[in-house]
Symmetry: C2
DNA sequence: CTCCAAAATGACAAGGTTGTCAATTTCGGT
DNA sequence: ACCGAAATTGACAACCTTGTCATTTTGGAG
């Protein structure tokens, strides 16, 4: 079963297209690469030939000749859980659509910069994108600059003006959650922080504070406890908060996994949610849907994060100094069964 | 910061190595490709030159010239959830280690064979691996054979003797779970099946039956209900089972997600696990750890599945008729908090 | 020591694309 | 209709590796 339009076994080359369209192979190359200096009429004729032969450029020949490799890199630290997996899925889908490949490198330990350097010197990459905490690692960023590799940061810590990054509006999303809890009559709301150093940890805390202020509730520092985005920190956070002399009636955990920890602690101590305690998470992935009760949470478009990162890198690939505007993706407040009127 | 040993900007080529070692580039090529006909002494000299220049062969030039592309493919249907993500992770890691790339293709709808054919005619692949249900799709397998692409099936339905596939021993694992429940004193054990057509669905059911037999418990068909590996089917399964005039004291769901559904149904109907009902899952991923109570489940080495698939493909790439032995990976019974003595 | 087969090595081309730069065409202004 | 500048197109080399096939070297038998 051969694909239609082929005369012999081997796939059509740029020369076949050129012959059919009656132009030189260089002009075909120009069309394929979307270069500007081709007359519309010529372009159309070439495109028709491309379609009729279902020509696809040979990735290897291109990679060999051009300076671009058509390979992008994803750097991250912790390959567990929904978050990186979804990023990866989104990125892969978009890469494939556009003929790019994706290599993944997991960075670990103290010398991330060195690992990055080794990685880059072995693989010629057209661009790199990173999730926290890698995207906030100074030595990694330095190496990337030295190698002249363009990069996109996902949810970075302190993005500089004009730097290319992608994020959601953690501040606003967090504020929405707390506003919702306040609207349900809650006035003592616990907050379990995310991983220290993560940009979103800080932004979500600010959103929390801002919402309290808007609701004319005084901030009680004892209601804000440490955490790091995992199940165990949810358990510990709940333990601390519920041991207070005046415990909270609602807890906003740093993310869904931590919220699951809160639920778990509550259940095992005879508290039922949402009757005795309202719980909110953040992420909106699988976890929020399989725990009982289903979490009220913020849905992040995580796949879209990965997809957007790749889109930006591909758009920039070649066109060196494209304006680098940050991309802020939309979020959605999901009302689950884990929150109730006080 | 350049990598050590490079004189100018561009990386060393096979010619640089040849000059340094005092041989022809062809001989270097032979060493790099581990071909047999190189004298030990020569090989050593070349290897030293390779090391001192930290030469790495250009993937594109190789791909262009050689018949092999160094690209493997992963075909699957449903890119959601832990399972495919973990497969992908394991596969990607091993690919990178060995200089291979990985492209991912999601097949959907009725014409999987046609999609596969289109995919293969566009990309020269050195091998393909598939998860269920793609790996059981007859038209896909036929297309793969027609194209002469070697493939590995993960958890296939009816593997033929001598065919290359990877799986865990679902039968034994399931039996272990039921044996454990029996050892806790349970005698009425509900079983929620997995997705129809999946090999593991059948194997786990057989394991269930075998264990009952071993425990001298008569099979009650009403305790076995349909399902399809998702949360909702766990909810529905629990509803059906718990509505029986003589309901089960323990339920073994098809996988963790379905088990989470069972827990959810139980909780919302005033039953607490494990006191009123023991629940078991299957997979051992994130879900089993974030629900309350933590699930008793079977841990599958999912990442290892992906890694092994790639390992087999790479080993076979080139050496056409390597003996194709099935690979059975080990599983582990994880005792959680969702099961208790009856 | 010579000869021969087998083993080891080398010379050269080919693979499909894009960069460079030269050649040709187009088009606005006279 | 003609000129010159700008736009468009084309010829050819180069990218790096491996397959083919010829050549050289090795090592053992005579």
């Amino acid at each position: 079963m051969k694909s239609p339009g082929k005369k012999n076994g081997s796939p059509p080359t740029i020369i076949d297209v050129a012959n059919l369209a009656g132009v030189s192979m260089k002009t075909v190359s120009r069309v394929v690469n979307n270069e500007a200096t081709v007359r519309a009429k010529t372009r159309e004729r070439v495109q028709k030939a491309i379609d009729s032969l279902s020509y696809q450029r040979n990735v290897f020949a291109r990679g060999l000749r051009a300076d671009r490799s058509l390979v992008l890199g994803l750097l991250y630290e912790n390959p567990q859980g929904d978050y990186p997996a979804d990023i990866l899925h989104g990125a892969l889908a978009y890469c494939r659509e556009h003929g790019y490949h994706l290599v993944v490198e997991v960075l670990r330990g103290p010398d991330m910069g060195g690992q990055t350097a080794r990685f880059l010197s072995q693989t010629k990459l057209d661009g790199v994108f990173m999730t926290p905490p890698v995207c906030d690692n100074a030595s990694v960023l330095k190496v990337l600059k030295n190698f002249g590799v363009s990069y996109v940061r996902i949810s970075p810590n302190k993005p500089k003006r004009g730097e290319q990054y992608i994020a959601i509006d953690d501040f606003a999303a967090s504020k929405e959650v707390i506003d919702y809890l306040i609207s349900l009559g809650h006035r003592r709301i616990g907050f379990i922080k995310g991983m220290p150093g993560h940009a979103s940890t800080q932004a979500r805390l600010e959103g929390y504070k801002s919402a309290l202020e808007g609701g004319e509730i005084d901030l009680d520092e004892s209601l804000v406890v440490e955490g790091n985005f995992d199940f165990e920190s949810g358990v510990l956070g709940a333990e601390t908060l519920l041991a207070l002399s005046e415990p909270p009636t609602a807890i906003f955990a740093g993310n869904d996994e931590a919220a699951a920890g809160v639920l778990s602690y509550a259940h095992s101590h005879g508290l039922s949610a949402p009757q005795d305690l309202s719980v909110c998470g953040f992420d909106g992935g699988t976890i929020s849907k399989v725990v009982w009760p289903k979490l009220t949470t913020v849905m992040q478009p995580i796949r879209l994060l990965g997809e957007s990162a790749v889109r930006l890198l591909i758009a920039r690939d070649g066109n060196e100094h494209k304006a680098a505007k940050p991309v802020i993706l939309p979020h959605t407040l999901i009302i689950g069964d884990s929150t109730a009127r006080r």
